[in-house]
Symmetry: C2
């Protein structure tokens, strides 16, 4: 397949944007990415979104946004893989450009969630789980993750407070990201005293939802004339059973392991070559499971990277350098594209106080469902 | 891009399958396609679906089906473009195989709609239209098409009865398709006396919804060792404004014209080379608009092809040879894949009494919304 480069990026601040429509939020990120890329038109538009059919009564978001941003006539399509929708849209666009049939593509991850009441959003998010065998039993999406976290604590002997560094790191990094939803430093004490959501997951273990959009323009790498060229060195997608209870080992993210392995091979790199990792910390338990599955820690020991301060800027493997899902926020179908945008920002050296020195290779890993669909992308800077 | 071939096809009978779950319906078509292809595993799964988040409370259908049919670990994703979801999933799979990153893909178009009450399905289908500027006004999806049909009749001087041949032809062809929802011959009299849905669209102008799934396995063409090889000669997707009222001319299917033009160019063919046309007759008005936009008739004159008997088997351009949306049925997100499967059946010479003699090149055209997203695929037989 031909090499593909990222020409431009754009994003909106995550929040409760009751004054902005779904159209406007996605459009703002799209326009920003097109402007950053210095182009006015693309061949094809790929939109990642999970909830608009349920929350906004709107399907066909590809054409919906092509219409709104003036890409009349152009190809447009929507991709959905629950909270992995953003990266899934990115990968679909990548395949289209890599095939030679499409010369430029715009990828927009977008979600508008906060117009609905909390219980409606909780029900909508549960569509990521197995409707017949999980949701039917009354378990919520956070409830499923709570069961995994409890088992992990039991199995490997960790206490709740040991997960604190993941949330503290995310919140600390988000302080320097103007697009983040939360700008609030937290401590171990605050983490431990936070309101319980689904034992043992409390409010500071869980990422906040939000309205937001992030976008990127991709083109064949040979067409990039800028001095710094950022290419997609690795891309892979893998799956696991949709219901967590069907897995032999619910604490092993098989799809993270497989997609990371394939992406490493494609990029010709190993975990030691990776400068930073934008991981999918929807819940603090997912941080440690992701680090373990992707080769940064032994089973049950990912948590040590947090305790040993290896995940912060300057550590062995900085994670969630712009705040992660925990503090940047988690507008579900948009999250995968926020991660791609943030990896590009690091590779460009645009991250100010959370800049990873000499960042040249970064990973973005996006998860749909409780580890059911996992996409791994490795981006590289040519300079 | 490298050439791609269709190795196997599968489909289920369309109907009200209250005894079968969403899983089972999609799985049946998937297994049939894999068996027909003679393979047990594929690299990637692409699922086309429109309504499951709303009707079944289930998102992430890619992984949902990968899990169900035993494609554990493999890549899986869902594509949505309203009623164009099936062809959109097919095109996404095509890009993936054409890129060289994926060596085999299974595409499943699936929809389960009849478990809900009629008014709920009508509301769900309206998510294909513009929620803010069409649906908000109280117009249903059939209502929008009725406005277009009325304008067409006024503009070009046709009467309602002149649309009858499209429905009569579809019903006649479906008599010989065991997978079709309706097996009932109709006449002009019956057509004219049918119950009104949204003036001037009556029940026999409109396609019935249904539960169903259709699937295909695709691989690089060079890997096919069978004597007859069916390849994807042309593929294109184009869009129009999502709201019909935003178009300069609501009776011109711009996206059909553009995607057909691009597909013709890619395949190196013109309308006179086409042996048959599986068009998207969601409503009878769409048949004439599609024939006009794709170069088979002048503006306002597509209807003559019906009146002159040119659309039936043996005519100049046979359409809906397996019953079309009108009589085979329209399980919305699955329809595009039924069309692909039917084109393959014709090219293989498997259509018995509705076989187009010497069929070598066929088109499948799938529409999302009221002409908003249109995908055109041209399939060719090597023998």
């Amino acid at each position: 397949m031909r090499k593909v480069a990222i020409l431009g990026i754009g994003q909106t601040k995550i929040g409760e944007h009751w004054e902005k429509s779904l159209r406007e939020i996605g459009g703002d990120a799209a326009f920003a990415a097109m402007q950053d890329a210095g182009i006015e038109k693309v061949d094809s538009l790929f939109v990642g979104n999970m909830l608009s059919p349920i929350v906004s009564g709107q399907n066909q978001l590809g054409t919906f946004f092509a219409d709104w941003i003036g890409l009349w006539k152009q190809e447009a399509v929507k991709i959905e893989a629950a909270c992995g929708s953003g990266a899934a849209a990115f990968r679909a666009a990548l395949m289209a450009v890599a095939s030679g049939d499409v010369e430029s593509a715009l990828v927009v991850g977008v979600e508008k969630m906060t117009d609905k009441a909390g219980r409606d959003v909780t029900a909508a998010l549960a569509t990521a789980a197995d409707a017949d065998y999980e949701v039917e039993q009354g378990v919520s999406f956070v409830g499923i993750n709570a069961l995994v976290m409890r088992r992990y604590m039991h199995e490997f002997g960790w206490k709740h407070e040991h997960f604190a560094p993941f949330s503290i790191n995310a919140h600390a990094n988000a302080m320097h990201n103007p697009y983040a939803r939360l700008h609030e430093k937290i401590t171990v004490e605050k983490f431990e005293k936070s309101a319980m959501v689904a034992t043992p997951i409390n409010l500071l273990d869980a990422s906040p939802i939000g309205d937001g959009a992030a976008a990127a323009v991709i083109v064949p790498a040979e067409k990039v004339t800028k001095k710094q060229r950022i290419t997609v060195a690795g891309s892979a997608s893998a799956t696991d059973t949709i219901a967590v209870h069907s897995r032999k080992d619910p604490m092993f993210l098989q799809a993270a392991y497989l997609s990371a392995k394939q992406a490493y091979e494609m990029a010709g790199v190993s975990p030691t070559d990776i400068d930073f990792f934008e991981l999918h910390d929807a819940f603090s338990i997912m941080s440690t499971l992701s680090l373990e599955a992707c080769g940064f820690a032994e089973r049950g020991q990912g948590i040590r990277l947090g305790l040993d301060n290896e995940i912060s800027i300057g550590g062995r493997i900085p994670v969630c350098t712009r705040g992660g899902l925990k503090a940047r926020g988690h507008p579900v179908g948009a999250t995968g594209m926020y991660q791609i945008v943030e990896v590009v920002q690091q590779l460009r050296g645009e991250c100010d106080k959370t800049q990873v020195d000499g960042a040249r290779i970064g990973i973005a890993q996006n998860i749909g469902g409780s580890g059911a669909t996992i996409l791994t992308h490795i981006l590289k800077s040519d300079v």
